[in-house]
């Protein structure tokens, strides 16, 4: 029988992979393991997300990674991570029955980054190998990590926030709606208007 002090069993892959594949069991195990340092672990996870973005941006744009490209992309696009933190805090704070403190909850939340991280890497590989990629098609493929993340977030809400299954599903759906609204809003703001987004969607449907 596993005790609360027992460390997470050694594995070839990171805990984040376990969370992506079997979120309920992994979150439950992590909640039982009180010996972890959530602050350090959270910073490491945020660094992994920033690292992924800082590499994917220059690889897609110029198929080159230098120190300056890497550093400037990391600084420029870290606002995406800041938005993710703000949205996560919103979800966590609004759960009155949560079983853990904010830092621990944020650490577990960001452990669910794998679907989007893998998607970004896949898109970068596609852009680099094919040379020309339709951005509308790429955004459509984001539905896969979106659905996958919703599944992980629902498990997080059930286990870490103590939500009922239906409430957890609603929260996960609301999270995805907020994330997509922010993403599409940014797209509309910077590309000249919502009609550009609508045009892209209609082109995709055709």
């Amino acid at each position: 029988m596993r005790t609360t002090a027992e460390p997470y069993p050694a594995s070839l892959f990171s805990i984040d992979v376990s969370i992506a594949l079997s979120p309920d069991q992994t979150f439950e195990r992590l909640l039982a393991n009180t010996g972890r340092a959530p602050g350090r672990s959270l910073i490491a996870r945020l660094c992994i997300v920033v690292l992924t973005i800082a590499v994917v941006v220059p690889v897609m744009a110029v198929q080159r990674v230098t120190v300056s490209l890497f550093a400037i992309a990391a600084v420029s696009w870290s606002f995406v991570v800041a938005i993710q933190i703000a949205v996560a805090v919103g979800v966590i704070v609004s759960a009155r029955e949560r079983r853990i403190d904010m830092l621990h909850a944020l650490d577990l939340w960001f452990a669910g980054h794998l679907p989007y991280s893998l998607w970004m890497l896949a898109v970068a590989a596609l852009a680099t190998s094919s040379g020309l990629v339709d951005p509308v098609f790429l955004f459509a493929t984001a539905l896969v990590p979106s659905a996958w993340t919703a599944w992980v977030v629902a498990a997080f809400c059930r286990r870490a926030l103590g939500n009922s299954p239906s409430s957890a599903r609603r929260r996960a759906a609301a999270h995805q709606i907020v994330v997509w609204a922010i993403g599409l809003g940014y797209g509309a703001l910077t590309s000249g208007g919502w009609y550009q987004i609508a045009g892209g969607v209609s082109r995709l449907l055709q």
């Binding site: 590499v55 110029v62 992309a73 852009a127």
Partner: protein
């Protein structure tokens, strides 16, 4: 044993890839050629930057433009000129390509490139009026990727244009033909209209300068570049290597255009990208310390 250190090895792989990429990235020195009384410059007047819907901030964009053999480029984000003005400001007094402030005036009826402006141009007005606003600021107005959907380009608006994108990254030959057909129509209405080649770079290939404009300029300054566009002293190069524009200038450009710079370290660049990509994948999967 090695399994224990997969995350760390992955992180080292990223560091090695970035180091290889940095050490093997060379920016060739560029000296524009002379053609009679003119300098022959290479420019890209339709480039998006961050913050905006471009992924690269102005600094790396300028480095990439230099590597692509460009002498001048314009930052033209949709319906805002802040990023462009910042890019122009920070490039002042330093070596490298000239950076011009611009905007892609964007609405349902037309997309219009404004280059050499000082203020944002209102996008919610007829094309002819937007062009007049650009001229009032001392800038030039270029029709962006004009096609059958660009219904805002009336004959009056076309007569007022300084240039039109005859070359723009296209999905197929049909699109290329549309840009050329618009250029021919514009040329019938305005003999001096400049043929422009632009990459419309955002975040993915095609890269900066993939389509470009060759300009015959009297002086290598912003004023010289804008004058060349106003006078139609340009030739557009498309992504298939074809030149478009006034036949006499096309002939002249064919004899004078320098060879595109070749990346001598292309193999190292690919290795660097492969190392970094595999390294990040490893960090994501094996944790890089988060286990």
């Amino acid at each position: 044993m090695i399994v224990r250190y997969l995350g760390t090895l992955s992180a080292l792989c990223v560091i090695a890839g970035v180091a290889v990429g940095t050490c093997t990235t060379i920016t060739p020195t560029r000296v524009p050629s002379r053609v009679g009384d003119y300098w022959l410059l290479a420019g890209d007047f339709h480039v998006h930057a961050f913050p905006g819907d471009g992924s690269l901030a102005p600094w790396p964009l300028r480095d990439e433009a230099a590597r692509a053999g460009l002498d001048v480029f314009a930052v033209t984000n949709h319906n805002q000129a802040l990023t462009a003005k910042f890019a122009r400001q920070q490039a002042r007094g330093s070596d490298g390509p000239l950076v011009l402030a611009g905007e892609e005036v964007t609405n349902r009826e037309y997309h219009l490139i404004a280059v050499g402006i000082t203020q944002k141009v209102n996008a919610f007005q007829p094309a002819a009026r937007a062009i007049a606003d650009i001229h009032a600021q001392g800038g030039v107005a270029i029709a962006a990727h004009p096609g059958p959907l660009s219904v805002g380009y009336t004959d009056d608006a076309i007569r007022a244009l300084d240039g039109t994108e005859a070359a723009h990254p296209a999905d197929d030959q049909r699109e290329r033909n549309e840009f050329i057909a618009f250029y021919e129509r514009a040329r019938r209405l305005n003999r001096r209209i400049a043929a422009i080649g632009s990459s419309d770079f955002h975040a993915m290939p095609a890269p900066v300068g993939s389509c470009r404009t060759f300009l015959f300029v009297r002086e290598r300054t912003e004023a010289g570049v804008l004058d060349a566009i106003r006078d139609g002293r340009t030739v557009a190069l498309d992504d298939a290597g074809q030149l478009h524009g006034d036949p006499a200038l096309v002939l002249l450009a064919k004899q004078s255009i320098p060879q595109q710079p070749v990346d001598a370290n292309n193999g190292w660049r690919r290795l660097s990208v492969a190392l970094v990509w595999a390294g990040v994948l490893g960090v994501v999967l094996f944790g890089g310390g988060v286990r």
